[in-house]
């Protein structure tokens, strides 16, 4: 279970998270929605210790992330796959090496690594792309490689940072299906940060809206769709005022 406890974070004196509290249950996919620049990605990065909270903490399976030493943080990171907004593929490495890099840290044999890479690429429908370089891939393919890199690690948790941003509707739908398939195949717990409501309804078990540094409302897809909260309604309907 991942628990955000009263998380607070400011950049250059400008507060971004102001008491962000959310509980993500094992096996479920929670989608965090909210306006651009409200701190959704910032919250996500606290889970793997890429950012340190000014106050509050993130608790992963009873471990407070801010208190972990380097070895414990590395151990925690081995349980979590992170899919970055722009995939963050290593552009000097082939697709195979991008996927194999994390696996080489786990003392697997070369055969096991090759098997896991092939399996992950098959899951994202990119079999045969092993020797290609990120520069040769389309935006959607890069995102799929990013997801494959995360699932090749067979993590307990996967964190998706804006997985469909910048994609055409069809490719975005493919990515959505992929996230659902990943959850069903690997039974991982997921957190998805997005402002794409179609994606949120497709992949989410629960949806939480981040507004002004805090959770404004959290509920199932049906509860969010029927909400009477004017702020949440305006956001999910995409109304300007």
């Amino acid at each position: 279970m991942i628990e955000f406890q009263d998380l607070r974070k400011a950049f250059d004196g400008r507060p971004v998270l102001e008491g962000f509290t959310l509980r993500v249950q094992d096996g479920e996919t929670t989608v965090i929605i909210g306006y651009s620049g409200t701190g959704k990605s910032v919250a996500l990065k606290h889970v793997v210790g890429l950012l340190q909270a000014d106050a509050g903490d993130v608790i992963v399976d009873g471990r407070a992330v801010s208190t972990l030493d380097r070895a414990a943080l590395t151990a925690l990171r081995r349980e979590i796959g992170f899919v970055f907004q722009f995939a963050a593929l290593f552009d000097s490495m082939s697709v195979f090496d991008n996927l194999a890099l994390g696996l080489r840290r786990r003392e697997l044999s070369d055969d096991e690594i090759a098997e896991r890479v092939a399996e992950a690429l098959a899951l994202v429908d990119l079999t045969g792309a092993e020797d290609r370089y990120p520069a040769e891939l389309s935006g959607g393919m890069r995102k799929r490689v990013g997801i494959a890199r995360a699932i090749a690690l067979r993590p307990r948790y996967i964190l998706y940072d804006e997985p469909t941003t910048g994609l055409d509707p069809v490719t975005a739908a493919v990515i959505d299906q992929l996230m659902v398939r990943t959850r069903e195949h690997l039974r991982v717990t997921g957190i998805v940060v997005t402002h794409d409501m179609r994606s949120a309804y497709t992949v989410g078990d629960r949806i939480a809206m981040l507004y002004e540094g805090k959770i404004r409302q959290v509920g199932t897809v049906a509860q969010i769709q029927e909400t009477e909260d004017p702020v949440v309604r305006q956001f999910i309907e995409g109304r300007p005022t």
């Binding site: 990065k45 793997v48 210790g49 890429l50 380097r70 590395t74 990171r77 081995r78 979590i80 796959g81 992170f82 970055f84 907004q85 722009f86 963050a88 593929l89 290593f90 552009d91 890099l101 994390g102 840290r105 890199r149 690690l153």
Partner: protein, 254 residues
Amino acid sequence: MIERLGRRTVDAIKAVGGFGHFVGDLARAVPDVAVWGRLTLVQMRRVGVDSLPVALFIAAFTGVVLALQASYTFTGTVPLYFVGTLVGKTMMLELGPVLAGLALAGRVGASMAAELGTMKVTEQVDALETLAYDPQSFLVLPRVLAGTTMFPVIVALAILTGIFTGWIASFVLLDLSTQEFLKGLKLFYRFKDTWFGLFKSATFGCTITLVGCVVGLSTRGGAEGVGRSTTRAVVYSAVLLLVLDAFWALVLLR
């Protein structure tokens, strides 16, 4: 005015603290040999082989110019074989390490700052961390070790090239025989001349690569930020290299 001065002082203290923190993290990455060992070899090839042409090119012309300037300065009052002394001493003690260092500050330091800066702004550094790698052992340590070990090799070859072209210029343009040139070269030679230049170049290599990495990994703000970091890395490296040059002369040559 006072407020601005205070803010700059605080920023400077923060920068020094940040650098100390960076070096501390680097030291903690040393036991992670499995990660940095293989990558260091790759970087040694990049820093060494790829930088060699520019260093040798500069040294070749420096050797020629030194021989001609020495002959012009002596104008018959000093025996011409002292051209060998001046070319050898100057190449070994100063111009070999410093000119190669300045050229490599532009080539190696800038390329490291640009590469790591791009990785930083495209979240590749964050991705490394989420894959349970320490950026210090994966990115920084191999580059710093490669710079520290390969700079003396490059500088040694640059010194030899400079002396060789100085000899050719003396032989062809100044009618100085090989025996006379060698006589001058050996005249005041001390083993310290060799190790001083090579030791100095190792410290230059360490500084240039460390600055490239520190500046690259602190990049913010997209392509413009990468451009700023690249320029900053070259300027800081060049300034630090000249300060170090004076420091070692003060400490080791007095």
